[in-house]
């Protein structure tokens, strides 16, 4: 009976700190874009975007506190996304 609705939620303060972190990373990614690092700019901005995305996913979307079904199905999706990206580049680079 107790499991029909779980009531785990994050406090406003926690959510607001996540928002501030996201702002900080946005500032960093804009700042870094003014420094010319060649190809590394792309990788750094993608890395920062992934960190920001993970914050949104884990806290705002509550994934950190979900059960196995959601965690593994999400990782499965990312795995297939990875296959799509890597196989496409495998094809394009060796044509």
């Amino acid at each position: 009976m107790e499991k029909t609705h779980h009531s785990h939620y994050l406090e406003y303060r926690t959510l607001f700190s996540i928002f501030l972190l996201l702002l900080m990373f946005t500032g960093i990614t804009v700042g870094v874009s003014y420094i010319d690092l060649g190809v590394f700019n792309v990788w750094i901005s993608l890395l920062i975007a992934s960190v920001k995305g993970s914050l949104v996913l884990l806290f705002f979307m509550h994934m950190k506190y979900e059960g196995r079904a959601l965690i593994f199905s999400f990782l499965g999706t990312i795995f297939f996304l990875f296959i799509m990206i890597s196989f496409t580049f495998w094809d394009v680079s060796f044509r």
């Binding site: 029909t4 939620y9 996540i18 700019n41 901005s45 199905s73 990206i85």
Partner: protein, 198 residues
Amino acid sequence: MASHPDESGKKLGMWLFLYTEIILFGGLFVLYAVYFSRYFGDFKESGKTLNRLIGLMNTVILLFSSFAVAAAVTAIQKKEKKIALTGLATATLCGLIFLVNKYFEWGHKIEAGIYPNSEKLVSGPHGQNMFFGLYYVITGLHGVHIIIGMTLLIISLVFVLEGKVTSERFALLENSGLYWHLVDLIWIFIFPLFYLII
């Protein structure tokens, strides 16, 4: 025996849908990546013509709206209806401001003769044509998602107001929130790819 609403089942269903959205935008990002590696120079030049300030503003607006929705989901569970309503209204307003910014941004580009199949793009460098083609498709599709997300937020707001979404039963609000966060998540990747290329 009374049937219990299957809250976790509803959430799983929403996530399954979100996975298809991730693959949809993932596919477009792959397309972007392939042409980026092929026309590196043209993409660099074209990215510089986008207004970074508007891009940054829209990023902050979406991040804040995501926070507002997350706060609304917390509020409904704490039975703080007023905060939940404020959060949802704020997020919807943020979505509207985002779209107004986008309207001016697109309008400015269209005025400059940069739109799909325009004379300037067709006769210009091929990489530039690809960049703006992808720009319009990806930000356009994202804009459609903003409109759908705003609709879901407004429906949730009305249901909270009418007491149909409560601390016992809030799957609609939670799932609308998940959708809104995904739209934010996609923008987090769009912003550096289009606006911040050196």
